[in-house]
Symmetry: C2
Subunit: 121 residues, 2 copies
Amino acid sequence: MQAMNSEELLAFLAAVGHAQRLRIITELATGTLYVSELARRLGVSRPLLYMHLERLEKAGLVIGRLELSDDGKALKYFELAPFDVQLNVDTILTAARLDGADAQRDGSGEAGKHSPKGTPQ
Amino acid sequence: MQAMNSEELLAFLAAVGHAQRLRIITELATGTLYVSELARRLGVSRPLLYMHLERLEKAGLVIGRLELSDDGKALKYFELAPFDVQLNVDTILTAARLDGADAQRDGSGEAGKHSPKGTPQ
DNA sequence: TTCACCTGTCAGTCTCAACTTACACATGAA
DNA sequence: TTCATGTGTAAGTTGAGACTGACAGGTGAA
């Protein structure tokens, strides 16, 4: 998995760092499931599960797609997306460094003055 | 870094998964600092920084120790603890599996007799 | 004494994610 | 029609974490 900036890293960590969502991941690891079925298995209300799945999807941890069953019902299936993030000091420093690079690319925010290269201090 | 159960994993993720705390880690990566100095650098109130450092320390990401400076002032220094956690589906499944093992070891809760041997599965 | 540093903690407020309840809307089967 | 199944969303409540401000205590130096 490629390097992330702080924002992406935080989104990822926030997504995974929740007991319910860990359970969701564990459950989806056994195979693809549609929302209502997953809600039943986990003993969670469907709207709540929706919120969690939305969060996981935004962070790229799960993928959802709407399918028609044989009897014409619409089922929203979710499956696990492959992910693998190494978390150590280097990862975090890299994320911070990417933030700076992003800001520079965008050109906005800090009016250029900021030391263009090298770390201050 | 050795395998963690869900509780430890969540504590770790919650500790790292916060913008301010990422900045703290980034700052401490440059070297050991005492609280007031760190607060100044980050532009954060000291009580707030305390809370964050406490959280980081509980999760084992930083280590704090009180030192006497030459002029007799007490300074609370914090340094980064080495950490390295791989985050993928396997990590999470392993954590879930450890939870079960922990519960069995503790013996309570599940009126489980003592299961004679081995890990279920 | 007063000042400028530091540590440590408490009592609040505020904000937001988490969670509940309820609705509108489909389908197929009884 | 009614029931059981599903999706999708829009309210509300709540609870925990984040954050502020103020305090009590210590030191050494002016």
